[in-house]
């Protein structure tokens, strides 16, 4: 259990491609830090620099206070779970988990003990003799986890470990990961592009965009007070509605609705109100059970808006519906997309 310090880190790929200009991040010991951001923003690059799989162009990374820039991956005392699991296809589940221990010269009985322990934690006892191809996706994922935990490393690194699972399994597995991490109390750096996953897992949420950090904070803090339009659009599902302030006059105070400002309002903050300022033509209604998403279009004909409502009575496609929002639920952003603090 160690902290991870990333200081002034820069990454330039061969061919002079600067992917990360200058990045600063500190992860406390035992914390689960989730990096989230759109594809290509440099999440994996950062993670791989921490792992030692990618040279660090500039800056310093410290794990447990020790500078690791020049260390080989194995010397950094980390474990990594890959997106495609990277299980050794020709080895049994047992051997997959034991491989790292064997390479470190751990004694046989000790290996036995640790692997069995991890297998028990992950419910893999019955599969230890199988090959990865004889396992389902979820089971494979758990083997990858098992491989990471048997070594009891200073830190876990996860690169989109759930993206190969189907929706249902993904939800289930992320609970397991969270549970496990809380019990083991190992520092973890977790990369995903799924904001929901990020929200539910993180102690500390880091939103990245184009190699830079847009916002760092507790998930609910980021959700409640997105620091930028980018974060506002990225976190939350269905995503926050982004409405040019001049489009819906009644929504916000006049003084704010100036100079290219935009208003953000979450779908669940829109409340059906026949006198509300937001008028939309309903296109599609999705009934999700407890809630329904109403997809509509503002009268300007270009701005799409989603309202998330509970209850049985919903408008039908083609109807015109009106919504209101409480002042406290409105987020204001300036022309550069930065939050205008209120």
């Amino acid at each position: 259990m160690s902290d991870i310090q990333i200081e002034n880190v820069r990454k330039v790929y061969p061919g002079n491609v600067e992917v990360i200009p200058d990045l600063e991040l500190s992860i406390a010991a035992g914390e689960l830090c989730v990096l989230v951001g759109p594809s290509g923003c440099g999440k994996s690059t950062l993670l791989r620099m921490v792992a030692g799989l990618e040279p660090i162009t500039d800056g310093e990374i410290r794990i447990g206070g020790r500078r690791v820039n020049e260390l080989e991956p194995v010397e950094r005392d980390i474990s990594m779970v890959f997106q495609n699991y990277a299980l050794y296809p020709h080895m049994s589940v047992f051997d997959n988990m034991a491989y790292g221990l064997r390479n470190r010269g751990t004694a046989k009985p000790e290996i036995q003990r640790r692997v069995r322990e991890a297998a028990q934690v992950l419910g893999l006892e019955d599969f230890l003799q199988r090959k990865p191809r004889q396992l389902s996706g979820g089971q494979r994922q758990r083997v990858a986890m098992g491989r990471a935990i048997v070594r009891d490393p200073a830190a876990f690194l996860f690169d989109e470990p759930l993206s190969n699972l189907d929706a249902k399994l993904r939800v289930k597995t992320r609970v397991e990961i969270r549970d496990l991490q809380q019990r083991l109390k190992t520092t973890a750096l977790y990369v995903t592009h799924d904001q929901q996953e990020a929200m539910t897992l993180a102690d500390k949420l880091v939103v990245m965009n184009a190699g830079r950090i847009e916002q760092v904070g507790a998930p609910m803090e980021v959700y409640a007070r997105p620091a930028s339009l980018f974060v506002a659009g990225f976190i939350g599902s269905p995503p926050m509605n982004i409405i040019p302030a001049d489009r819906v006059p009644g929504l916000a105070a006049h003084d704010t609705a100036s100079a290219g400002m935009t208003i953000g309002v979450r779908p669940e903050a829109l409340i059906a109100d026949p006198a509300g300022p937001v008028e939309m033509t309903v296109r599609v209604v999705e009934r999700l059970g407890a809630t329904s998403n109403i997809h509509g279009m503002l009268p300007d004909g270009t701005t799409e808006v989603i309202a998330s409502v509970t209850g049985e009575t919903v408008p039908a496609p083609g109807d015109t519906a009106r919504f209101a929002a409480a002042k406290v639920d409105l987020h204001l952003f300036d022309a550069e997309g930065r939050r205008v603090s209120e």
């Binding site: 792992a51 890959f82 050794y88 790292g100």
Partner: protein, 294 residues
């Protein structure tokens, strides 16, 4: 043998599609092969003017003939050497090239050349190089204090055909190994690095096992190559000599038929070879079918 789950239905089309190959196979393969079987139980004079049925006598003679058995072992040793040295060298080069991915293509382009050289011509080239009187390789050996003479020394002659045959096949093996190595997901190597395996350990415990389908495929290809396609190499260099040191089975089949004019024996040898190869084919199919289906 399996077909697709999704198939087409048609009454005569599949027959029409398969007919050309079947016809060619029957005329130029099955018919001659059955002739070979027929001839293997006959004794004939060279011109085919007198024919006598002798039952299994030709086979009995072969199995009782120490020279045939010697030729058999020679072939085994030769194939093993060609296949193993060809694959080993290719593998080493491929590993090196795989590690320097960006320049791999340049090396590949250079290494590909020998593959284009006919075995017979490869034989001629190496024969030229190792010619005890004018060959530069023989000269170099001489400098190193080794008196190279493949006309006399069976070991030298064997080395010569192994080198000539291997030289050409390394290119081919190299292509497959490089492609195979590059197809191994990078993340596996990385996972192994994190798991504390150094380059050598990674190779033995991860890359090589994952390369095993390629290795298996190449073993089959190389053995078949050594068995049959290197006829030209032998013919162009040692002609099976000195003594019987390089008299490999295909060469013997050919020589007993075309030089020895002993058609019955040659046909019997053909039959034995066919049996061996059909067995090999069946094994290969078994393996591949299993691999495809898991």
């Amino acid at each position: 043998m399996r077909a697709k789950r999704v198939t087409f239905r048609h009454r005569w089309l599949p027959y029409a599609l398969i007919a050309p190959q079947i016809i060619i196979t029957i005329i130029f393969f099955l018919w001659p092969a059955s002739q070979a079987i027929y001839q293997s139980v006959l004794r004939q004079d060279a011109f085919g003017l007198r024919t006598e049925f002798v039952g299994m006598a030709n086979f009995e003679r072969l199995f009782g003939d120490p020279l045939y058995l010697e030729s058999f072992w020679t072939t085994m040793a030769y194939s093993a050497m060609v296949a193993s040295s060809g694959m080993l060298i290719a593998l080493i080069l491929a590993i090196m090239a795989d590690r320097v991915i960006r320049t791999a293509t340049a090396y590949r382009t250079l290494l590909i050349w020998p593959y284009a050289v006919a075995p017979a011509v490869a034989g001629v080239l190496w024969w030229f190089l190792f010619n005890p009187t004018i060959g530069i390789a023989a000269y170099a050996m001489d400098m190193l204090g080794y008196d190279w003479n493949h006309y006399l020394d069976g070991g030298d002659a064997m080395a010569l055909i192994v080198i000539a045959a291997t030289w050409r096949q390394v290119s081919y093996n190299f292509l497959f190994f490089l492609a195979g190595l590059q197809a191994i997901p990078k993340s596996l190597t990385e996972a192994a690095a994190i798991d504390g395996a150094g380059p050598v350990k990674r190779f033995w415990s991860i890359q090589l096992p994952l390369l095993s389908p390629t290795v298996f495929f190449l073993i089959v290809v190389n053995v078949v190559y050594a068995f049959f396609e290197t006829f030209g190499v032998v013919h162009a260099t040692t002609s099976g000599g000195p003594g019987n040191a390089t008299n490999i089975l295909v060469y013997k089949v050919w020589r007993d038929a075309f030089e020895g004019l002993n058609l019955g024996s040659s046909a019997a040898q053909s039959v034995i070879l066919m049996v061996i190869v059909i067995a090999l084919t069946a094994i290969q199919f078994r393996y591949i079918e299993r691999r495809v289906e898991y």
